[in-house]
Every structure is written in C-alpha cells, then in structure tokens.
C-alpha cells in the first residue's frame, strides 16, 4: 500500500523534475510543465491519497499567498487595478458566460449555468504565479507595466477567493450565498484576531524554536481548514484566513516563511501534476472548448485590459505590455475546477478543457513575450498613433523652451534634479510615463510631458532638439538607447543611469557624456568609510549621527515621503 504511494510520488516528482529542467532551460515558468508532467504520468497517479495530497497543495498555495499579503499594499493595488478589473468583470465575464452557456447547451451539460460560471472564471482570472515569473525583472526594475500587471494579478486572486466562497455551495440560493459570505467573513476576522493575539503567543511559547513556530503555523492552517469544512465553506477560504493569521514580520518571520515556502513548493508540485493527471484523453468537444477558452484568454482578455489602461491614461506601450502579460488561465481557475470536480458539479469535458487551456495559455504567454516588441511596433503602435499624440498633448504642459534640461523620470533622483534646477533657475522639462504621478507633476513642475520615453512624439513635445542636456534617471537599457539615438540629431549632452559598469561602458562608447552607476558610487563610499573607520578618522557614533542628520534634511525637503513610488 505505502509502497505504491511512494512509487506514485516518485513518478510525480521525477517527471516534474525532468520537465522543470526543460522549463528552466528556456526560462519558462515550471507550472505549465508540471501540468504536462501530469498529462504524461497520468496513468500512474491514480491513488485517492495522492488527490488528498494535491488538496494540501491547494491549501498551502492559498495559505502562502495570504501570508505574503501586505495590507498596506492593497491601496496601491486598488488604485492601479480598480478600473481595469471592473471593466474585465463587466465586459469579459458576461461574454465568457454566454459562450460557456452555449457550450453547456450544445454538449448537454447537466447544469449549464454553473458550468458557464466555471468557464467564465477561467477566462477572466489571470495567473499570479506564472505572471510573477514572467514579469520578474520588470517588477524588480519597477517599470510601470510590471506594477500594473502584478496589481491586476493580485486583484484577480482576491476575486477568485471570493468566487470560491460562493461556489462552494451545492445549491445556489440567495440565503446559501449570504450564509457562505457570513462564514467567510467570520473566518477572516478570526484570522485577524489570531494575528493580533494568537500568533504572538505561539511565538512566545515556542521560545526561539523555529521548528515549533513552523509546526504551530501549520496547526493554525489545519484548524482553519477544519473550521471551514465544518461550516461547509471551501477550504480555500479557510487557508486564506489562516494565512492572514500568520505574521510576516518579526525575527521569526524569515524562518517561518522559508519553511512554509519549501513545504508549499513540495505540495504545489503534487497539486499541478495531479491536476494534469486527472485529464482524460481529450475528445473532440474537449478540444473545441479548450480552443475557444484559449482564444478568449489570449485575445479578448488582453484587448479589454489594454483599452481600459489606455482609457486610464497609460501610454499605449505600457498598456500593451501590461495587458499582454495577463493572458493566461489562473491557477485559481484550476482550483475552482478541481473543487467543482470533487463536488461533482462540473462537466468532465469542461474540466479537461480548462486544464488543457491552462497549460496551453501559460506556455503561450511566454512565447508571446518574445514577439511582444514586434507586435507592438507593427500593430499596436500604428493603431494608436493618433490617440497617442492627442493624449500626450492633453496631459502635458510645456512652454517654449531653449537650452533647457530634459529630465527623464520623476522618481527620487528626478526630484532632486528638479530641485537643483529650480534653485539655479534653469529651464527644464520632466518626461514621465506613470499617470499616477500626474497630479504631483502638475503641482510641482513648471514643464512636464506625460508619455512613453520609447515613443518619438513625447520627445518632440519636450523639445529635445533645443535641449542642452538630457538627464535620464531611468535604469532601463532600451530607454537609454533611445535617448542616445535621438541625441545624434539633437546634439545635446547626455547623462544616463545604469545598474552595472559593463552596461555603462557600452553606453559611454555609444556616445553618452556620462553614465552614473549607483552601485559603483556606493562601492566607493563604502570603501572610503571602511578606511576612515579603520584609520580611526571617524567612529560609528559620528557616522550614525551624520546619517541621521542627513535623513532629516532629506525628509525636510520632502524626498523621503514619496519613496515608495520610486
């Protein structure tokens, strides 16, 4: 008995391991490959125990997600995602529902309305796990489209949890739904209470033993799962509430987070492989549904996102890049599907189709990324050309300028430069692409252009031809290269920024006047400080005092409060 289980797990992990090697080779997310591993290993993984382990995967997945939530971020997310997500729910969801209902009718599903909801959820929601891998570098570099897309992912995940709460009723009536929501709220509130009082107690009792805190956190998870089942709501809601209860700060945090993330990785792999293994050999109807689902996810979804981003004032490139990284089926759609499968409320062909479409779209989203720039230049840029100039005109304010300084980016460094320029009474214009900063630009800067630094028109608007100096604070190579290209016509001096000395050297060779490399600067300061300390020229107290004074000065000038947006 156990032997068979061990062998089944061995099959799961060996296939998952081999396929994730392939994923890694091409820089793709391993998740679609886990599903494919399941498709391959399907026949070997049939034990009901493995399905139980897969459900632990779901629980841990949601648990880890909820632990990571920082409620301070929710505001930013709402600001970014509000309109786009609402549009998505109002426009795409009904269309998808209609298509889903048609399929239900056509193939004679038992409960066409419910199946249509599952279909629609699979279309609307996009995957934060896959998106995280996809957008990794963009989020790190703090590019606007990366932030936008991850906000939408986050919003989608919350929507999914709410949806799971409602869908865990067998019979959908207003009363039942109200009861579900009530239980859900009670669970989350108990999670919050535990966050305040229970978890700190656990940490105190464990008395520095990280293993006990970890096991205790898992016990909290189990308790919430049990409570959720007892009142008949989805375990996902229980896992979410349990995650809320776990503190992600404090000295124990690192160890607990590491622990949970390892255990999560272990079970999540089992989950995705099992999901793949549950798919039967696809019939024609499965293929038709899967193809339609994929088409909707790959085309309709991004289209609506792009349009709503543009409506919100983002430039076409940001809107396109953000929209095109939202075109995959969410892992939460898989959870919804598997939960429905266990409840027996989803039609088998639809279940298979959702899983297949998830694997396909998760893969295609990466491939799409490779061709993104080409697609943008050949299709999107042309479509929106008129709109682009009009929009830039609308949201910019520039006087006639000559011999001015053109500042690219209005982050921490940008602000300092503007300050310096105003002090010296030199004409300047700021070029920025984040509409969130528009109010501030309008209030603080004499001249600004809100637009895409990779497009030509904003530069024209900023009168680069007459500029004496272009000073870019954006550490993004394409932007730097665009500036150098434009500069050859404009004949201005160019100051750039770059993360590494190697890139900086290339840029210098390409004609930049200078490239600031913050890391090199920091390295120098560091060396000087080490030397000064070693030679006894200064002592830690003095250093600390000086720094604290400096921070105060920065704050007085208002450079610190806006930090988080840089």
């Amino acid at each position: 008995m156990t032997e068979e289980l061990v062998i089944a797990l061995a099959v799961v992990f060996v296939t998952a391991g081999v396929l994730s090697l392939i994923a890694n080779q091409f820089g793709l997310s391993p998740i679609p490959f886990y599903i494919i591993a399941g498709l391959i290993a399907g026949r070997f993984v049939t034990e009901s125990e493995i399905i139980v382990l897969a459900q632990w995967g779901i629980a841990f997945l949601v648990f880890a997600f909820a632990i990571r939530i920082d409620f301070a971020d929710v505001e930013t997310v709402l600001r970014d995602a509000e309109l786009a997500s609402a549009t998505q729910l109002i426009v795409v969801a009904p269309i998808a529902f209609g298509v889903g209902y048609l399929f239900g009718d056509l193939f004679g599903f038992a409960d066409p309305v419910r199946n249509a909801v599952y279909f629609s959820a699979a279309v609307v929601l996009s995957s934060s796990l896959v998106g995280g891998v996809l957008l990794g570098s963009e989020i790190r570099e703090n590019l606007v489209h990366g932030r936008l897309a991850s906000s939408i992912h986050f919003f989608d995940d919350l929507v999914a949890i709410a949806l799971l709460l409602i869908l865990s009723t067998e019979v959908v009536t207003a009363d039942a739904i109200a009861a579900q929501i009530g239980y859900g709220v009670v669970l989350v509130i108990s999670g919050l209470v535990l966050y305040r009082h229970g978890f700190p107690l656990l940490v105190r009792l464990a008395d520095g033993d990280g293993e006990l805190v970890l096991v205790g956190s898992i016990s909290i998870l189990i308790a919430f799962l049990a409570a959720a089942e007892y009142v008949g709501v989805s375990i996902v809601v229980g896992a979410f509430a349990a995650g809320v209860a776990i503190r992600s700060d404090g000295t124990q945090a690192l160890e607990v987070q590491n622990g949970i993330s390892s255990i999560t990785d272990f079970f999540v792999a089992i989950f995705f492989v099992t999901v793949g293994a549950l798919v039967a050999i696809p019939s024609l109807e499965v293929l038709v549904i899967a193809a339609t689902l994929s088409a909707l996810v790959l085309a309709l979804n991004p289209l609506v996102h792009v349009l709503s981003f543009i409506y919100e004032g983002y430039d076409a490139r940001t809107a396109f890049l953000a929209g095109s990284s939202l075109n995959q089926v969410s892992e939460f759609a898989l959870i919804i599907a598997i939960q429905a499968l266990l409840m027996g409320t989803i039609a088998d062909p639809l279940f298979d189709a959702i899983i297949l479409a998830a694997a396909v779209t998760m893969l295609l989203t990466f491939l799409g990324r490779r061709t993104e720039d080409v697609v943008y230049e050949t299709v999107v840029a042309r479509l929106f050309r008129g709109q682009r100039t009009r929009k830039v005109d609308e949201r910019s304010s520039v006087d006639e300028l000559e011999d001015h300084v053109l500042v690219v980016g209005y982050g921490r460094i940008g602000r300092r430069i503007v300050e310096t320029l105003e002090d010296n009474d030199v004409p300047y214009v700021v070029l920025e692409n984040d509409p969130v900063l528009w109010d501030e630009l309008d209030a603080e800067c004499r001249n600004y252009v809100l637009g895409d630094a990779l497009a030509e028109y904003p530069w024209e608007k900023a009168q680069i031809g007459d500029a004496a100096l272009v000073c870019s604070t954006v550490d993004h190579r394409p932007v730097s290269e665009t500036i150098l290209e434009l500069e050859t016509d404009a004949d201005a001096d160019v100051l750039l920024r770059s993360e590494s000395a190697a890139v900086a050297s290339d840029l210098l060779e390409a004609g930049a006047t200078h490239v600031a490399v913050p890391n090199v600067l920091a390295g120098e300061q560091l060396l000087a400080t080490v030397d000064a300390l070693a030679a006894g020229e200064t002592d830690p107290e003095t250093l600390e005092r000086e720094q604290r004074d400096y921070f105060q000065a920065l704050e007085r000038y208002g450079f610190a409060t806006r930090d988080e947006r840089v």
């Binding site: 459900q55 656990l202 300050e419 100096l469 560091l526 080490v530």
Partner: protein, 585 residues
C-alpha cells in the same frame, strides 16, 4: 469538498503534536519526546483515534526518507575521509559486541532460543532518526563525535537492510539461500552506490549549475532526484531510505548543498513529526507492552551501560581524545525503533509472539526517552564526569580538528558594491567569506580562488551557520531587504561592525536602531551625485567636464576589473589594487 482536514489522521497528529510540543518546550523537554508521546496518546495505548495506515504511514516514511536524504546532504567526502577507516572499525566491532551483549542479556532473562536470536539481532541498532535529529538541532552533527556516530549508524543501516531482507525472505532453506540473498542485496547496493558516485561527478555538477539560480526548480529537481533513488531502491527490493541517503550523498559533493539543506529541512521537520508519532502508534496496547515489563527495564539498563562502554572502548582505541569518545558513545546508547520493525517481521514469520514485540517496544521507548535527554545534555554530563574520565587520557591523540571561521569578515552578495571593499577587508580581518546565491558569482569566486564562499540565500539558517555569522568581526550586506538585514543584526555579535544597505529612510533608521554601524543608501547617494553633476553643468561647465572625466574613468576601471576577472581570475585583483592604507594616508 471532501473532508480532507478532519478525516486525515495526520492532521490530528500535527495539531496534537504542536500542543504537546509547546507544553514540552515550556518544561524544557525535547520535542521528539512530545511527538512520540503524541503517538502513544492518539494510538491504541490511550485514545485509539488514529491508525497508522495510508497517509500517516506514507508521511512517516517520507519523513524518515527525507531525514536520511538530509543526512546524506551533510556528508561531504572531504569532511569524513580522514575518519572513515576508524569509523568502519568502530562500526564492525560495535555490531559484533553489542549483538553478543544483547544475546547474553536475553539468555539470562530466560527467553526461548528463537526469541533470543530475534532480540539480539533487533537491539543492535542505534536510533538513527533520534540521534540525527537532536544532533542537528544542537548543531553538532558535523562535529567530530557527530560524524563518528553518523558513520557508525550508516554501517548499521547497511547491516539492517541485510537483516531485514533476511527476515523478509520467505523461506531460507539453508546456507545457500542465505548466501544468495545476501549476494543479491550487496550487488544491488553497490550498483546504486556507484551510480550515485558517478552521477555526483559527471551528471550533477552541470545539471545543478544550470538550475541552482532558480529556487523552485532547484528544490523540485532535488526532490525528484531523491525520489528517483527511492524508486530504484524500491525496484531492487531494498530499503527505499537507503536510496534517499545515497541521493543525498551524491548532491552533497556539490557547492550548492547548503542551500538545499535549508530548503529540505522544513519539509523534513513537517513529515518527521508524523514519523515519530507513528513510533507511539505502533504499540499494540498496554497489556502486551507490559508483558515483560521488569525484564525490559533490566535489559534497558544493562544495554545502555554496556553499549556505552563498548562504544567508548572502540572509539578510544582508534585514538580519539576522551571527550570525543565520550560524546560519541553516550549519543548511541539507545535501542532503535528498528527493533520494532524487525520484531514485526519476526511475528509475521512466526518466530516470536506479540509479547516479545511488546518487550522490544518498551525497551525501545525507555532507552529512546532516556537517551534523548542524555544527548540533549551530553556536554553537561561530560563536564560532571570529566575528572573521572581523565584517567583514559593519553598523550598521542590525533583528533582531526574541524575548522571554522572566527574573527573574519563576511560579505553578503558579490557585486559591484561589495567587490571593491573585499581586498581591504581581507587586509583588515584576515579572512573574507562571501555569501551569494548566484551560480555565476560563485563560479567566479571559485576561479579566482582568493576568498572563501558559501553558496546560498542569507535567509537560511544553515547558510549563516556555515559562514559563522556569530563569530564574524565585520559584516557587509548589499541586500536592501529589511528582513534580511534585521535578521543579520539580530544574530551578529555585539562588537561586530555591520554595514548594511537600505532603500528607504525609515528602513535605514530602523537598522540604525538595531545596531547597524553604517547604512548605505544607494539611491540617495546616486540622487546626490547626479544632481551635483547637473548643478555643475548649469553653473560651472569646466568643473563639470573635469568631474565627468574622472568618474567615467572610474566606471571604465570597474568594468575592466569585472571583465578581466571573468577571463583570468586572481592576478588582476592584486595588480589593480593598491595595497595598504594609501588611500587615506
């Protein structure tokens, strides 16, 4: 949704174990005792609400397999090579002498012939999971006594596999059958062992270099690797745990094993809890447990004392010093839960009755509980007894000392920020250890061969231990993550100089509050510098040109350093850097 949480016995085990564990923690008892107690309380002895079947058994098995995988991960050949012959001698001597002792004790207590044979074969083993777990928790598994113990346990495990296979074989007609079964087992094991060694040399380095940068893939591939060996061992009718252990050993030889240890540890902790609980669950009921209660107590006492002296004699004979011999032996005094497994098999074959299994269980429980405390307080016990044991001291001792860093400098992250300071730190603190979790950085360091390095994420305890953060005099962190820097400041010694980096002013203040010596703020520094450029540009163009020319040179110099380093390591760093405190003289 199905009733996963409520129906799964193991969920109950986890919750109860947490509660008992927390209580145990308050009273200073080891968590293992709490876990075993959980099994006894939930099992047939008390409430009988949990059975050791299906998932529970699977998770228990997984726990043990992961523990051995982890143990394998810690076994670096270079670390144990020097003590290997000694360990082999000890292990063989111990097996023979302890079997003899157990035989005599059982004979004296009046058991029947078959029973005596089973008992003596079953009580030889040390309890691998207990010893490994407690020593790991105490951070002593890689100390010299720890290594000797682990070495002996491994030899025992091989012996165990053989004993198990012999008991499991349906009819052993005569010496011929026994010999052929033994032959098959040995051949299989050597095949797997050789495969593990070959792969650690030829397959794994390239494979893991590619994936080590990707946290998730790294973990899953490593687990897949372990399961591959488990499946092979299972297919060859061997104990799957031996497969897990060999898989661990083959990865241990790579520079990435520390990082992996830290990722595997929580999974092990989670499952091993279930494993320890299953020990308690296996006991059939009070009556059979207490059938031979006084014999069990007498035998436990005799065996614990006897085993200690056998081990002490053997280790001491190999020329280790008294403290090492003492600690190495006192860790090994218990009877393992393997005796239950051997006993269970013997019942199946009809060699013994359930009462003898009860006797074995009680003995295992007694000795394991007592030895848990003994291992936990092994140093304190030695201090008490040291004067008396001093008589075994002799002059020629050959203890291999295990080197650790002390009074050194640590750099977290090998990048453009830290690298310029490294030569100076080496000069000031003698030794520089770099912690980095990017394979290409580590390879660069390896090629260069100038600084010590640890591959891994600084968030992980194991990685921090390896670099001996507590003993460092200077720590330089180029991570801007506040949790990382806070953990660093919490762990580092009070007198150490700590340079950290921060992104936000609030973070920087917090870090100063927690004792940072200096907080580098790259973005503000860059803002300062760039606005300086711009100011010069609009006020004094000549000064601007001059500053720019100088700084451009610096950037190019940095680039050249990186580029040269990539081509041919060490010579560059020496020639390019002006030694001594000239910079500020």
């Amino acid at each position: 949704m199905s009733e996963i949480a409520l129906a799964a016995d193991f969920a109950i085990i986890v919750v109860v174990a947490t509660v008992i564990g927390l209580i145990a923690r308050q009273t200073g008892q080891p968590t293992i005792i709490a876990y075993i107690l959980t099994g006894i309380i939930l099992g047939p002895v008390a409430f009988d609400i949990v059975t050791e079947e299906g998932l529970v058994e699977l998770m228990g098995d997984l726990g043990f397999a992961f523990l051995l995988f982890l143990l394998g991960l810690k076994m670096r050949f270079e670390d144990i090579r020097e003590i290997l012959p000694a360990v082999t001698n000890v292990a063989f001597g111990q097996t023979v002498l302890q079997t003899a002792l157990a035989f005599l004790v059982a004979l004296a207590l009046g058991f029947e012939t078959d029973e005596i044979l089973v008992i003596s074969l079953a009580t030889v083993f040390g309890a691998t999971p207990i010893i490994v777990k407690i020593l790991t928790d105490k951070d002593e598994i890689t100390s010299l006594p720890g290594k000797i113990d682990v070495g002996v346990l491994i030899v025992q495990d091989i012996y165990l596999v053989i004993v198990l296979a012999l008991f499991a074989a349906d009819d052993l007609g005569g010496a011929g059958d026994i010999a052929s079964t033994l032959g098959v087992i040995l051949v299989m094991m050597s095949f797997i062992g050789i495969f593990s060694l070959l792969s650690s040399r030829y397959i794994l380095p390239g494979l893991f270099r590619r994936i080590a940068d990707n946290k998730d893939v790294f973990l899953i591939v490593a687990i897949g690797w372990a399961f591959l060996f488990v499946a092979i061992a299972e297919g060859a009718d061997l104990d799957p745990k031996v497969g897990a252990f060999l898989a661990g050993i083959s990865i241990a030889q790579l520079p990435y094993s520390k990082e992996l240890e830290d990722r595997i540890t929580p999974i092990t902790d989670f499952f091993i809890l279930v494993f320890f609980a299953t020990i308690g669950l296996q006991i059939d009921g009070l009556s059979s447990l207490l059938a031979y209660w006084w014999q069990a107590i007498v035998a436990s006492a005799v065996l614990m004392v006897g085993n200690f002296w056998i081990m002490f004699y053997l280790i001491d004979r190999e020329g280790f010093d008294v403290e090492t011999s003492f600690l190495g032996s006192i860790n090994m005094v218990q009877v393992s839960e393997f005796s239950l497994i051997v006993g269970a098999l013997a019942i199946d074959q009809g060699y013994i009755g359930p009462d003898v299994l009860g006797y074995l269980s009680l003995m295992a429980l007694l000795t394991m509980s007592v030895s848990t405390y003994i291992i936990a307080y092994n140093h304190a016990i030695y201090e008490r007894l040291e004067p008396w044991f001093a008589r075994f001291e002799s002059d020629e001792r050959k203890d291999a000392d295990i080197s650790t860093y002390e009074g050194h400098a640590i750099a977290i992250g090998y990048d453009e920020i830290t690298e310029r300071a490294l030569p100076r730190l080496e000069e000031l603190y003698g030794e520089v250890v770099i912690i980095d979790r990017q394979t290409d950085h580590i390879e660069e360091l390896e090629r260069e061969g100038r600084y010590e390095y640890v591959f891994g994420d600084f968030r992980h305890t194991e990685v921090r231990k390896e670099a001996n953060l507590k003993g460092a005099d200077f720590v330089l962190s180029s991570s801007v993550e506040r949790e990382v820097n806070e953990a660093l400041l919490a762990e580092v010694g009070d007198d150490a100089t700590v340079f950290v980096e921060a992104e936000r002013i609030d973070d920087a203040r917090t870090l100063y509050d927690r004792g940072a010596t200096y907080v580098i703020m790259t973005s503000h520094l860059a803002a300062e510098k760039v606005s300086e450029y711009v100011e010069l540009y609009v006020t004094d163009r000549d000064a601007f040109e001059e500053t720019i020319a100088r700084d451009v040179e610096r950037v190019n110099a940095q680039r050249r350093r990186s580029a040269d380093r990539l081509e041919n390591g060490e010579s560059v760093a020496d020639t390019d850097y002006t030694p001594g405190g000239e910079a500020h003289d």
